[in-house]
C-alpha cells in the first residue's frame, strides 16, 4: 500500500514513500525526522502537532499524509532560516521570549504557528480574534495570558515594520 507522495516542506520539495493513510504527524516525525512537530494527543484535540498547510492551521495528527500531496507545509522550523541565540528568529518567536509566553514549551511550536496564520491574515486582530485563533491550541502551563500578550505585541511590531 506504499505510495510516493511529494510536498513542499519548509520551502523544500520532499518525497516520501509510505501508506497514504499514515498521519502527516507520523510521517513528519518518523520518516522526515521533523521532531519539532509534537505529538500531544493524536486525537486532533490539543494542537501540539499544528502545522501550516497552504496557509491554514492543521492538526497533523489526524491529517492523512496522502492529502498533503502537492501542498505547501510549514513547521516551526520553517519560520526562520538559521536561528541563533543572537538573531534570525521570527518576530513571533522573539516576542514569545520577551513576554515570557513559554513554560514547558510543548505547545509552543503549534501555538506560534497558529498565531502566525492569524497575523498573516490581519495585523490588526481584535482581542477576540486572537483568543479565537489560538483556541485550538491547548496550553496547561501559562494560563494563556502571556501568550495572548505576545501575539498582540507581535501584531503591533509587524504592523510597524510594514509601515
Amino acid at each position: 500500500m506504499e505510495k510516493s507522495i511529494s510536498f513542499i516542506l519548509n520551502g523544500k520539495k520532499v518525497l516520501v514513500s509510505c501508506n497514504p493513510l499514515k498521519t502527516l504527524l507520523k510521517t513528519l516525525r518518523e520518516d522526515l525526522h521533523h521532531i519539532e512537530v509534537k505529538s500531544g494527543c493524536e486525537q486532533g484535540e490539543c494542537g501540539s502537532c499544528t502545522v501550516i498547510i497552504d496557509g491554514k492551521i492543521v492538526n497533523s495528527c489526524i491529517f492523512p499524509v496522502g492529502q498533503a500531496a502537492g501542498k505547501n507545509i510549514i513547521t516551526i522550523a520553517g519560520l526562520c532560516k538559521k536561528p541563533t541565540l543572537k538573531g534570525g528568529l521570527h518576530p513571533l518567536q522573539k516576542i514569545f521570549i520577551e513576554e515570557g509566553a513559554v513554560q514547558c514549551g510543548f505547545c509552543t511550536p503549534g501555538m506560534i504557528l497558529a498565531a502566525k496564520v492569524l497575523l498573516d491574515r490581519t495585523l490588526t486582530p481584535t482581542d477576540e480574534e486572537i483568543r479565537e485563533a489560538i483556541s485550538g491550541n491547548l496550553c496547561r502551563c501559562t494560563g494563556y495570558s502571556k501568550i495572548f500578550n505576545a501575539v498582540k505585541k507581535a501584531s503591533v511590531f509587524l504592523r510597524n515594520e510594514k509601515k
Binding site: 521532531i35 519539532e36 512537530v37 509534537k38 505529538s39 500531544g40 494527543c41 493524536e42 486525537q43 484535540e45 490539543c46 501540539s48 513547521t75 516551526i76 522550523a77 526562520c80 536561528p83 541565540l85 528568529l89 518567536q93 514569545f96 521570549i97 520577551e98 515570557g100 513559554v102 513554560q103 514547558c104 514549551g105 510543548f106 505547545c107 509552543t108 511550536p109 506560534i112 486572537i130 483568543r131 479565537e132 489560538i134 483556541s135 485550538g136 491550541n137 491547548l138 496550553c139 496547561r140 502551563c141 501559562t142 494560563g143 494563556y144 495570558s145 502571556k146 501568550i147 495572548f148
Partner: protein, 789 residues
C-alpha cells in the same frame, strides 16, 4: 549536625551583598531554555531514538475489580515483530512500585483493583505492533463487586481493597478543646463539601526510555519530576545495586504533580523490558491511556464546622476530611497530611479537631497534583468562612481580616508563626486591585438575569515537604566555573516549565558575581548530585537555590581573595556588578570577571564546589497532630469577579486577582507565569473539568470529553507578588509553584454566591450543579465523592 553546618555556611560564606543592589536576582531575564523551545529543537522523550530500540505497550485490566483467572500471550507472541511479553513472573526484584506503603504492584499477579491496572508489557519493533499485540493478549477474570465510593468503602461489611478497613492512612489533629468551644459558641456554621477529580493534562504524555548497560545496569531517560524516586524504584524492581542505575531527565512537557509519583511505573516497565531484552525500550503513553491509568487530584469529601463569638472571632473548627484515594495508596498518605495540616485555613483558631482519612476504592489511584490536597480543603474552609460571614452579618472581608494569621498566630498544629507572614499585605493588595470596595454588595441587593459577583479566598502554604516528608527534604548541588568563565551547575531538581533552571542560574550568577548569561544548569542526572528529594511542594527555589548558593558562596570566597590580590590590597569588601569585581571602598577600579577566572586557573585555584542544604527541623506528633509542621509558609489570596446567568447557570469569570507572599521574587516574570497558569488550572477545576466515571471506569478519557480551559475561557488576570523576606531562603525566597492553584476555585464559588445567593458545595460548579442548587437550597446536599452517573 548537618543542619548546623549548612546554616553556618549560609551565614558566613556568602558575601555580604546589599539586599537591594542585585545584578541578577529580582530581575526578569529570559528563561535559559527558551531558544530551543520557540524553535522546536528542544528534545522531549519521544524525540529520542536509540539503535535497535524496542517499543513497549501495556496490557491493562479491563475491569475495575476481580481475580485474574487466566493469562495467555500466545497469540500476541506470534505476531511478526513482537519480541516478548513480560509479566509479574519475570520481575527479578520486588513486584512493587515503592511509594510510601508499597502496595502498588508493578504488574498485577492474581488480582486487579482498578480498570486500567497494568498486567503485562509487550515489546515489539514498532509502537504500532506493540499496541496491536497488547490487545491480543488474552486475560480472563472472575469479576468482583467494585467499591466506587468512599462511604461504601468505609462500611464495616465493605469488600476489602486494602488491609482490614480500606483506610490507607488516618490523621488526627487536636488542639485545645473544640467540643467545649462549640458548646459555648454564639454562632455555629457547618457544611459538607465535595470536589471532583482533576486530570493534570500536561501536554506531553508520560514517556520513558530504558537503556541497558553492559555491566548489568540500566539508564533511564524520560519525562519526570523526580529522578531519585525513579532511581529507588528501578533498584527495588530489578534487585540491582544503586550504582548500576542512572536516571536522566529529558525536557519535560509539564508535570503539575502528575510526573511526581507515577512515572516510576512507566520507568519500571521500560526498565524491566530493557533489562530482560537487553535492548533499549521506549514507552510513550497514548492520551487515553494516560487519562485512564495515571494519577489524578483526589476527589474530596469534607464535613466542616466553624464556631465563633458574636464579634466574629472564630473560636473553634471541627472537620472530617476524606480523600478518595483509588485502588493503591501512591502518595495519598502525604497528600492527606498536607491538606489536614492546612485544613483550618490561614486563621488563628485556638480549638481545632480534625479527622482525616485516605480511603481505598476500585478506581484509578490518585496522587500528587499541584496544591496537594489543599485546593480541596481550601474550597471547604473558604466557602464556610463566607457562610459564617453571612450568619454574623459581616462582609466576607471583615471576617477574614479579624481572624487572619500574622506573626504570633498559631496554626492548627500549634505552630507559632514567628516571621515572614505577609497575608495581611496580600489581602490588602488583592482588595485594592480587584476594586473590592466598589464591586462588593450583599447578594440580596443584586438583581437581573446576568449578575456580577465578587468573592475572595485566602490560604497559607507550607513550603517544602514539612514534617510529613522531612527525611527527603535535602538538596545537593555541584557548581563549577569553567576556564572561559562559563558556569555549569548540577542540581537534583527538575525543570518542568516552571523556570527553576533560570531561577537557579540567577542565584548562582548573583552569588558568584558572574553574568547570568554565562550560567547553564544541566539536565538532572542521579549520578551528578546526591538524592536531593523530589521536585514538588514549591521547594526547588528554596532547597536547590540554597544548595547552589552555598556551593557558589564557597567559590566566591576564593574569587574574592584573588580579587584582593589582583588589586594589591590586603583587605576590603569585594562587590560585583555581574561583569566586574570592585572594592566597595573604590567602585571605580574594576576587574573583569573572566580575567579573575583566568588568573584563578593560572594559579591552580579550585573554582568548583559541591553544596548541600537542609532546612530547619520540623515536627509532627502522630498522637495529636501537634508540632512545627513546616519551616516556612507562603501566603495567598485570590479575588474573583464573575458574571452569572441566573437562567442558564452559566458562569463567566471576568477577572482573577491573585496575590502571593513568596519572600522574594527571584524572577518576577516567571513568578507571574506561575500565578497565571495556576489560577487558570483553578478556574478549570472550579467550572469545567469534569471527569465522569461509571462503575469505576472513566467515560471521558480525552481532551474532547474533559474540558481544560482554552484561550477563549480566560479572564483578565492580575498577579500580585508580596515580598516578606524569609531569612533562611536564598535571597529571602520561599516558594510559589503550588499556591496559585489553591485559592481560585473557592474564590470563584464565593463570587457565584455573591452574585446570586446560590451556595454550591460541589465542584465543578457546572450549570447543572448550580441550577440544581437553586431548586434545593436548604442545607448542604448529599454527594458521593465518586461522581458516578
Amino acid at each position: 549536625m548537618k543542619k548546623t553546618i549548612s546554616k553556618k555556611l549560609t551565614r558566613s560564606v556568602i558575601p555580604r551583598l546589599s539586599m537591594d543592589n542585585f545584578h541578577s536576582v529580582g530581575k526578569t531575564v529570559p528563561r535559559n531554555d527558551v531558544f530551543e523551545k520557540v524553535t522546536g529543537i528542544a528534545k522531549y522523550i519521544d524525540d529520542y531514538k536509540f539503535g535497535d530500540m524496542l517499543y513497549g505497550a501495556t496490557v491493562r485490566s479491563a475491569i475495575p475489580h476481580g481475580n485474574i483467572k487466566s493469562f495467555n500471550s500466545d497469540r500476541a507472541l506470534k505476531i511478526d515483530g513482537v519480541a516478548a511479553v513480560y509479566t509479574h513472573k519475570d520481575i527479578p526484584g520486588k513486584n512493587e512500585v515503592p511509594f510510601i506503603l508499597n502496595d502498588y504492584p508493578l504488574l498485577a499477579s492474581d488480582r486487579v483493583l482498578f480498570h486500567g491496572q497494568p498486567i503485562a508489557i509487550v515489546v515489539a519493533k514498532t509502537p504500532e505492533i506493540a499496541k496491536f499485540a497488547a490487545k491480543k493478549v488474552e486475560v480472563t477474570y472472575q469479576e468482583l463487586p467494585a467499591v466506587t465510593s468512599v462511604h461504601e468503602s468505609l462500611k464495616k461489611d465493605a469488600v476489602k481493597i486494602f488491609s482490614s478497613d480500606n483506610i490507607f492512612r488516618k490523621y488526627d489533629i487536636v488542639r485545645g478543646d473544640a467540643e467545649k468551644a462549640f458548646k459555648n459558641a454564639d454562632v455555629v456554621v457547618e457544611g459538607t463539601y465535595t470536589t471532583n477529580y482533576q486530570v493534570h493534562s500536561y501536554l506531553e504524555p508520560q514517556g520513558m526510555i530504558a537503556d541497558p548497560t553492559p555491566e548489568g545496569g540500566v539508564v533511564i531517560y524520560g519525562s519526570m519530576q523526580c529522578p531519585f524516586y525513579i532511581h529507588d524504584a528501578i533498584v527495588h524492581i530489578l534487585g540491582i545495586p544503586q550504582n548500576k542505575v542512572r536516571v536522566v531527565q529529558t525536557t519535560t512537557g509539564g508535570g503539575f504533580g502528575g510526573k511526581e509519583d507515577v512515572p516510576s511505573i512507566v520507568a519500571g516497565h521500560a526498565a524491566l523490558a530493557a533489562y530482560l531484552s537487553k535492548k533499549p525500550v521506549k514507552i510513550i503513553y497514548s492520551r487515553e491511556e494516560d487519562f485512564q491509568s495515571m494519577s489524578k487530584r483526589h476527589p474530596g469529601y469534607i464535613e466542616m464546622k466553624y464556631a465563633a463569638d458574636k464579634k466574629g472571632k472564630i473560636i473553634a473548627c471541627q472537620v472530617r476530611y476524606i480523600l478518595d484515594a483509588g485502588a493503591f495508596s501512591t502518595l495519598s498518605p502525604i497528600v492527606l497530611w498536607r491538606g489536614a495540616v492546612h485544613l483550618a485555613g490561614p486563621y488563628n483558631i485556638p480549638n481545632v479537631k480534625i479527622e482525616a482519612l485516605a480511603v481505598a476504592t476500585n478506581k484509578v489511584p490518585c496522587g500528587a497534583f499541584r496544591g496537594f490536597g489543599q485546593p480541596q480543603t481550601t474550597f471547604a474552609n473558604e466557602s464556610l468562612m463566607d457562610e459564617l460571614a453571612v450568619k454574623l452579618d459581616m462582609s466576607p472581608l471583615e471576617l477574614r481580616r479579624l481572624n487572619m494569621m500574622n506573626v504570633g498566630s498559631r496554626t492548627a498544629t500549634g505552630q507559632k508563626i514567628t516571621r515572614s507572614c505577609g497575608l495581611e499585605k496580600v489581602v490588602r493588595q488583592v482588595v485594592k486591585k480587584s476594586d473590592w470596595d466598589k464591586i462588593y454588595l450583599p447578594p440580596e441587593k443584586r438583581d437581573g438575569t446576568i449578575r456580577t459577583g465578587i468573592g475572595i479566598a485566602a490560604s497559607f502554604y507550607g513550603v517544602g515537604l514539612g514534617a510529613g516528608g522531612k527525611h527527603l527534604d535535602r538538596a545537593g548541588s555541584y557548581v563549577q566555573i569553567q576556564k572561559d568563565g562559563t558556569v555549569l551547575i548540577a542540581i537534583g531538581n527538575t525543570e518542568l516549565g516552571q523556570g527553576v533552571f533560570t531561577v537557579i542560574s540567577q542565584i548562582a550568577a548573583e552569588t558568584l558575581g558572574a553574568p547570568y548569561k554565562f550560567v547553564r544548569v544541566m539536565k538532572p542526572d542521579t549520578t551528578r548530585v546526591p538524592d536531593s528529594g523530589p521536585t514538588v511542594a514549591s521547594r526547588s527555589t528554596l532547597m536547590s537555590g540554597n544548595a547552589v548558593k552555598n556551593a557558589a558562596g564557597i567559590i566566591r570566597l576564593r574569587i574574592d581573595k584573588m580579587v584582593l590580590k589582583m588589586l594589591g590590597v590586603k583587605s576590603g569588601v569585594v562587590k560585583s556588578d555581574g561583569k566586574n569585581y570592585f572594592l566597595s571602598a573604590n567602585p571605580k577600579k574594576k576587574i573583569n570577571y573572566q580575567d579573575v577566572v583566568k588568573k584563578c586557573y593560572g594559579e591552580r585555584i579550585n573554582l568548583t564546589s559541591s553544596g548541600w542544604y537542609t532546612g530547619e527541623d520540623v515536627t509532627f506528633s502522630q498522637e495529636n497532630g501537634q508540632g512545627n509542621a513546616y519551616y516556612a509558609y507562603s501566603y495567598s489570596a485570590t479575588a474573583a469577579i464573575v458574571q452569572v446567568n441566573t437562567e442558564t447557570g452559566e458562569v463567566e469569570v471576568k477577572k482573577l486577582v491573585s496575590g502571593h507572599d513568596i519572600g522574594k521574587a527571584i524572577n518576577p516574570q516567571l513568578c507571574e507565569g506561575q500565578i497565571e497558569g495556576g489560577v487558570i488550572q483553578g478556574l478549570g477545576w472550579a467550572l469545567t473539568e469534569n471527569l465522569v466515571l461509571k462503575n469505576g471506569i472513566i467515560l471521558n478519557p480525552s481532551f474532547a470529553g474533559y474540558l481544560i480551559p482554552t484561550s477563549s475561557d480566560i479572564p483578565e488576570i492580575i498577579p500580585i507578588i508580596v515580598e516578606e523576606r524569609y531569612g533562611d531562603g536564598p535571597y529571602g525566597a520561599k516558594g510559589l509553584g503550588e499556591p496559585p492553584m489553591i485559592t481560585p476555585a473557592a474564590a470563584i464559588s464565593n463570587a457565584i454566591y455573591n452574585a446570586t445567593g446560590w451556595r454550591t458545595n460541589e465542584l465543578p460548579a457546572t450549570p447543572e450543579v448550580l441550577l440544581k442548587g437553586t431548586r434545593n437550597r436548604h442545607g448542604s446536599r448529599e454527594h458521593g465523592t465518586d461522581t458516578e452517573l
